[in-house]
């Protein structure tokens, strides 16, 4: 097997931090692979795994739609490529999203995660916060959650595993090879969740 090819969708948002956390994960796990920023369908076609970072989900969705990246991502996920959606990335992976303030959203979604999302579930920019959370089910009992205008998962289908809750709200889920979190693991020094995702990619390949 040649090394893993992991991409960070680089349309907008928290790209550099995810590149760094993923590179460190490969190194710590001793797995051979490369991590690149990706923006075009051609770059996405070659990937073994993809992180859709935090940012603004309508922006990332709309701009990925215009150059055909969204279609390519859909195709890859349908073929089993592991994908990790963070904050805006979680929203993009979902089947349905509404906004706490604006209401029902008409935005491009990838339509894979069987969940209904509430955008800005914890409030506006200044309501952003940090808190200790837990993801026992995947062997991460303690994690520092950074929530920036974070979404939450209001409803989840039967195939969706709930990995974590905070104040009664679901903030991390897994469905097959898809992981989604409301919080930003790339903004902490703890790379255990990125390592978990890298291992998921390795198992698939």
């Amino acid at each position: 097997m040649t090394g893993l090819n992991i991409g960070i969708l680089a349309v907008q948002g928290d790209v550099a931090e995810n590149v760094m956390a993923t590179k460190m994960s490969l190194e710590e796990l001793g797995i051979d692979g490369i991590v690149n920023e990706v923006k075009t369908p051609e770059q996405i076609a070659d990937l073994d795994g993809l992180i859709i970072p935090g940012g603004e989900s309508t922006v990332i969705g709309t701009l990925s739609l215009v150059n055909g990246s969204l279609k390519k991502i859909k195709e890859k996920i349908a073929n089993g490529m592991p994908v990790f959606g963070i904050c805006a990335g979680l929203i993009l992976l979902s089947k349905k999203a509404k906004d706490r303030v604006v209401g029902e959203m008409d935005q491009p979604l990838l339509d894979f995660l069987d969940v209904k999302i509430e955008r800005n579930a914890f409030g506006r920019q200044r309501d952003s916060f940090e808190s200790e959370i837990s993801m026992e089910k995947i062997g991460i009992p303690k994690f520092h959650g950074v929530f920036i205008r974070a979404p939450s998962i209001m409803e989840a289908g039967k195939d969706v595993e709930i990995l974590s809750k905070f104040n009664e709200k679901t903030i991390a889920v897994k469905q097959g090879n898809i992981i989604g979190t409301s919080f930003h693991p790339e903004l902490t020094a703890d790379i255990s969740l990125h390592k978990y995702f890298v291992n998921l990619i390795r198992k698939k390949n």
Binding site: K39, L63, R124
Partner: protein, 208 residues
């Protein structure tokens, strides 16, 4: 503004400053601030005051992007200089730079080791076309702020979409060309002579 629940505050030089000697001490707020800068010293002073984002000042409202280009090039060349000092391990020289820029040694050290500003850096001031935006992205900006270039134009909607596309796909000349075709060049601001303006906004607060 924080009490009004806004998501971000631009401590803008376009407004007449109430305090001509100090900027806002931004650490006292939870709402993130963005500040303008014409050079590395200004940028680092604003970051030390708590700015979460930096943008070039450019010369707003002129449709002339040349000043923004000068500002980003200033910042880039000063960053290259301190990075090389850092790589040479010359702490004494870095301390001289800190004194010259009127900032702490630690923030100079941080920028020098990163080889960039420790916060995101946008281009702003005079941008009015997709080509302006794409060009500034090639100079290493993290993103683009556009105000009057869009809002005072007759084709605001198309222009906004075109500038966003050119900013996102700036590495692809075909996409930038497509974006440029989405706007009517005759509607673009003419590009005022920024050297002979009655009031140069960029000079406000630049020595503080």
């Amino acid at each position: 503004m924080q009490a009004a629940n806004v998501d971000m505050i631009d401590e803008s030089e376009v407004l007449t400053p109430a305090d001509e000697t100090h900027h806002i001490w931004k650490w006292g707020f939870t709402t993130p601030f963005v500040n303008g800068a014409r050079n590395l010293g200004e940028a680092l002073r604003r970051i030390e005051e708590g700015a979460a984002m930096i943008r070039t000042k450019g010369e707003p409202g002129t449709g002339n992007v040349a000043e923004a280009v000068i500002h980003i090039k200033n910042v880039n060349s000063e960053l290259r200089r301190i990075k090389s000092i850092y790589e040479a391990g010359d702490d004494q020289d870095l301390i001289s730079v800190a004194r010259e820029l009127k900032v702490s040694y630690s923030i100079v050290g941080e920028a020098a080791s990163l080889g960039r500003l420790p916060v995101v850096n946008f281009a702003a001031g005079g941008i009015s076309t997709p080509a302006d935006a794409a060009y500034l992205m090639t100079l290493g900006c993290d993103g683009i702020f556009v105000g009057s270039g869009i809002f005072k134009s007759e084709d605001a909607k198309e222009r906004a979409q075109a500038i966003v596309l050119a900013t996102t796909f700036w590495e692809d000349p075909d996409k930038v060309k497509e974006a440029q075709k989405m706007i009517d060049e005759r509607q673009s601001m003419l590009g005022l002579d920024t050297k002979n303006l009655e009031l140069r906004m960029q000079e406000r607060g630049s020595t503080a």
